[in-house]
């Protein structure tokens, strides 16, 4: 039986107030819902990463990434993870919910992050 703890997380974003609910599960995937869009992160994903990904998702233009001098010289120290973004009720008939799979690269030394869509499908969920 899944033990689900719900808590409110304050994410400071440069635009309108949003309703945020977070479900954290012991050593399991992390589901965060912002403005009706559900984000599923791999277990162990840091809060910092979650903030950055969601911020970037809603505000892709606001992409002022700063690269440290080490990264400028030597390239990034890339870590990769998978993130799923579900838009519920994207279609009126079943399957209704759009599930997008992203490959996300982040640099362990600086602000660099980049997401690549791997594929998408409609799922039966709502």
């Amino acid at each position: 039986m899944k033990k689900i703890i719900a808590f409110i997380m304050a994410v400071v974003l440069a635009f309108s107030a949003m309703s945020i609910s977070v479900y954290a599960e012991d050593a399991s995937e992390i589901s965060v819902t912002v403005n009706g869009i559900e984000f599923i992160f791999e277990a162990g994903t840091s809060e910092e990463f979650i903030d950055k990904f969601i911020g970037d998702y809603f505000n892709p233009e606001d992409n002022t990434q700063t690269y440290g001098i080490t990264c400028t010289l030597l390239g990034h120290d890339i870590e990769t993870s998978r993130t799923i973004v579900i838009t519920h009720n994207a279609r009126t008939s079943a399957p209704r919910c759009l599930k997008k799979y992203y490959n996300v690269e982040t640099c362990s030394r600086c602000d660099y992050t980049s997401k690549t869509l791997l594929g998408q499908e409609y799922i039966y969920c709502c």
């Binding site: 791999e42 010289l73 390239g75 990034h76 890339i78 870590e79 990769t80 791997l118």
Partner: protein, 266 residues
């Protein structure tokens, strides 16, 4: 977070190197600039930056196409002065050139910086020496690590993933990546292509919901495929051996042909 084969999914590094080659070459005297090299690198860079993801075969082909001559690092006195004059520009530009020199040095002379190059130049060598890089294969991803395989069959067999896989895909579309992950106790297997319009997922031990059965239905190889097609997206759902499949394509015709040619391991 897992590590990944950076050659395939970390194109940022490849982009950095291409920018560095362009900067380094254009820092030379006008008449000494190798225009073919610059042109090719710019074209390649623009495609990498573009919306369409390049397949591994295409990346490999493009790297092979870069008309390298061995003297990228040969600056004469006048060119050196030109580089010096550029100092007025921005510090960042100089940084990029230093980065380029470190990168290019790694193929030019491996002894100069010894360990430093061994550590930092490795990526560059790997990306430009086609023999050292595994291209044309499929990458397996799960939350812990990634592994490279030459073919999807080999991947599915070795990773013990009992999943149907496509033996036919439209021209130019190739399988790039497969994954086996767990989402809240549900296993999800995916097969991703270089074109995101094509995608296959499999949810083991999952049934087709009755509401899905209100979609259009077509019988292919004795399987009842429930599909819909709208806004350029065609998706078919079916159950095979108690596993739920979802196949996404760009048109009904291609969807049906992909499903018709799905194969099973063994």
């Amino acid at each position: 977070m897992g590590n990944i084969n950076e050659n395939i999914h970390g194109n940022q590094s490849l982009r950095d190197k291409l920018s560095a080659i362009i900067l380094l070459e254009t820092a030379k005297l006008y008449e000494e600039i190798d225009c073919d090299l610059v042109d090719e690198c710019i074209d390649f860079l623009m495609e990498l930056e573009g919306r369409k993801r390049l397949g591994k075969k295409e990346i490999r082909r493009r790297i092979g196409k870069i008309p390298f001559r061995e003297n990228i690092l040969k600056f004469n006195e006048a060119a050196r002065r030109k580089v010096k004059a550029k100092r007025i520009a921005i510090v960042a530009a100089i940084m990029a050139i230093i980065m380029a020199i470190i990168g290019v040095m790694s193929i030019a002379s491996e002894d100069i910086f010894g360990d430093l190059l061994a550590k930092f130049g490795k990526q560059f060598v790997e990306q430009l020496d086609t023999e050292a890089v595994k291209y044309g294969g499929v990458v397996m991803y799960n939350a812990d690590e990634t592994r490279d395989y030459d073919t999807i069959e080999e991947l599915l067999k070795t990773e013990k993933i009992d999943m149907l896989y496509p033996s036919w895909l439209p021209e130019g579309v190739e399988i790039e990546f497969a994954s086996h992950t767990v989402e809240f106790e549900q296993i999800v297997c995916t097969i991703c292509c270089n074109d995101t319009k094509f995608f296959i997922t499999m949810y083991p031990q999952k049934a087709l919901n009755d509401e899905i059965k209100t979609n259009l239905c077509i019988k292919i190889n004795d399987l009842e495929i429930y599909y819909f097609s709208e806004n350029g997206v065609t998706q078919g759902n079916f159950v095979y051996k108690n596993n739920l499949y979802s196949v996404t394509a760009d048109s009904p015709d291609n969807l049906f042909k992909i499903i018709e040619n799905l194969k099973e391991i063994n």
